[in-house]
């Protein structure tokens, strides 16, 4: 990463995408960099501990991160986060299919703007991504 790149405070949604899957009471959330150049930045900053904190309010008891550099991707396996799993949960979303957007939307960090894909609305300094 060149040190001269402009930094901006944005959610991971600006540079990565992902999907959540369920197995029992465990959710796995993938995080895939839009640009391979973002892989190292994500590897350094998006630690299992930080991800655990984002899901702690749902009961997450632990997070394991698996790295897939050839795919510019990570797999976060989050234990005990689904209120017992699809057959026991009282959530509207019993599979936890929406949970990928916790990682994408609530992990907010200063990032070099050259990791953002060319067509992204996040490149517009006036783009209002904050909810409130």
């Amino acid at each position: 990463m060149t040190s001269c790149s402009e930094m901006r405070r944005l959610p991971l949604h600006a540079i990565a995408h992902g999907r959540a899957g369920d197995k029992g009471n465990v959710s796995n959330v993938s995080l895939v960099a839009y640009r391979p150049e973002a892989y190292k930045f994500l590897a350094t900053n998006v630690t299992a501990d930080k991800v655990h904190k984002l899901y702690a309010h749902l009961g997450a008891s632990g997070v394991t991160r698996y790295d897939l550099p050839l795919l510019s991707a990570f797999n976060f396996v989050i234990d005990d986060v689904l209120d017992g799993g699809v057959n026991a949960s009282r959530s509207i979303d019993r599979h936890g299919k929406t949970l990928s957007y916790i990682l994408l939307g609530r992990f907010i960090i200063d990032m070099p703007i050259d990791l953002i894909p060319d067509s992204s609305p996040y490149l517009d300094p006036d783009f209002r991504w904050q909810k409130y």
């Binding site: 029992g24 993938s30 057959n87 009282r90 609305p121």
Partner: protein, 457 residues
């Protein structure tokens, strides 16, 4: 020897699009090689529900959507010699097979030769106590509860053995989803049962096809950030598999969606834990060295999958009675709506407690804190919500008895007249639940019971 096998994924869950297979069958008809169409329609709890229908009527217990999926394509399947592998047999593949040939008759087609695979239903050869007392992988206790279903996940080897009976269709109950794809590959290529790298490649190919359009741009679109063309007509996936185990994921021309490295990567990791050890009955697959290459528009070549020996134990899902779930909702909107919604929830919680209920009630306020917040207001990041927002209270609980579940719904309904100002749009449901757990069984206990029956009329 077969050079290339074409396998299309016609459905990814029990309620998937009924017309999705039409373009797939047209595409397969133009392919030069062995052609297969799979339908994966069996979730964990679906088989338990099917088992219950079968107890009520021995001719039921298979997918209620069997005709919806097959009627639009059955004639073309016959004409182009496309083989079908599906778990739409659920708890009663034999009855499903008969239904298919009845449908064929209605359409003026000769009967199909259909292989029916059995051996997954543990209740037919293991006693209830053994199943309920086996240690569960989740650590929960099942003993003392009413057993609804117990099915072991069979592998691609069992599906391949069924295909060896020279059939047009294979109907299974419970197999791993990817076995619907690995089975045809084992049958066509004759891969050895210890050629771990190839077994792993076939398994991952199945993993990518088993959720239908989730690999071809569906479940992916994020407008403005991840755009996907023509999702209303999304094309379902087709894999072109080589004997080496390398394969291409694509979709029929003139369909919507897209196949890119991004769509394939998201689906690859979907429901996966350790990428170096994705365990199925046939093999342990390692995708840590997997890499993707573009091979033209909407064509992604998948290579680099490794495998290691299969597990000695097979996983089974045991389903028991899980009581009842209550869900009840009521809307509040306009000035001070969040406070009115919270008051509504508090009133019901207070009355439930006074009625003697001391279990847990989940409270969501949709529009303020819900699926991402665990329904817990204090954990919500929404600390500055609109004063005049549009909010919906949702209360839910699971109880062993129906009465408690119904009481929660009734208490929220009472707020129509007896609650805060202007609550509207009450809806509720009380639904029977199935609790489930996974157990591991030695394959020597299972394998003698795996059998194939051929239905040809």
């Amino acid at each position: 020897m077969t050079e290339r096998v074409f396998i299309a994924g016609g459905a990814g869950f029990s309620g998937d699009r009924f017309d999705a297979a039409v373009p797939l069958v047209a595409h397969l008809a133009s392919c030069d090689g062995a052609r297969y169409l799979i339908f994966e329609v069996l979730a964990e709890r679906t088989i338990a529900l099917a088992q219950i229908s079968k107890t009520v009527d021995p001719d039921l217990g298979y997918s209620p959507y069997l005709e919806a999926y097959l009627r639009p394509v059955l004639e073309q399947i016959k004409m182009h010699h496309i083989k079908v592998v599906s778990n739409m047999g659920a708890a009663n593949p034999l009855a499903a097979a008969k239904h298919i040939n009845k449908l064929a008759g209605e359409l003026g087609l000769p009967p199909f030769r259909i292989a029916v695979l059995s051996g997954d239903d543990l209740s037919t050869y293991l006693d209830e106590q053994t199943l309920l007392e086996a240690p569960t992988m989740e650590g929960n206790q099942l003993s003392g509860r009413d057993l609804k279903a117990a099915n072991v996940y069979l592998g691609g080897d069992a599906v391949a053995n069924a295909l060896a009976m020279d059939v047009d269709f294979v109907l299974v109950g419970r197999t791993t989803d990817s076995a619907l794809v690995l089975g045809p590959l084992l049958h066509e290529f004759g891969w050895a049962n210890d050629d771990w790298d190839k077994l792993a490649a076939g398994t991952i190919c199945g993993h990518l096809l088993e959720c239908g359009a989730q690999v071809t741009g569906a479940y992916f679109a994020d407008p403005g950030f991840k755009d996907v063309p023509a999702l209303a007509e999304v094309g379902f996936p087709v894999a072109e598999v080589y004997e080496s185990g390398d394969f291409i994921i694509t979709k029929p021309e003139q369909t919507g969606g897209c196949v890119t490295s991004a769509t394939v990567t998201e689906q690859l990791l979907y429901e996966m834990h350790d990428p170096t050890c994705y365990v199925v009955p046939d093999v342990c697959a390692d995708v840590s060295g997997l890499y993707l290459t573009e091979d033209g528009i909407d064509r992604i070549l998948v290579r680099g999958i490794k495998g290691s020996p299969r597990p000695e134990q097979l996983k089974a899902t045991v389903c028991v009675d899980g009581g009842f779930m209550a869900e009840a909702e009521l809307s509040y909107a306009g000035m001070n709506s969040l406070a009115r919604a919270k008051l509504a929830a508090d009133i019901v919680l207070e009355r439930m407690q006074k009625s003697g209920f001391n279990g847990e009630i989940r409270r969501d306020i949709i529009g303020a804190f819900s699926v991402l917040d665990g329904g817990d207001a204090s954990a919500s990041q929404a600390n500055n919500l609109p004063f005049d927002g549009d909010y919906r209270v949702r209360l839910s609980l699971i109880s062993a008895d129906h009465k408690t579940a119904q009481t929660l719904c009734d208490e929220l309904q009472h707020l129509y007249c007896s609650g805060p100002a202007a609550g509207g749009g009450y809806r509720s449901s009380v639904t029977p639940q199935m609790a489930s757990a996974s157990i591991l069984l030695n394959r020597t206990l299972i394998e003698p019971h795996i059998a194939v029956e051929v239905v040809d009329r």
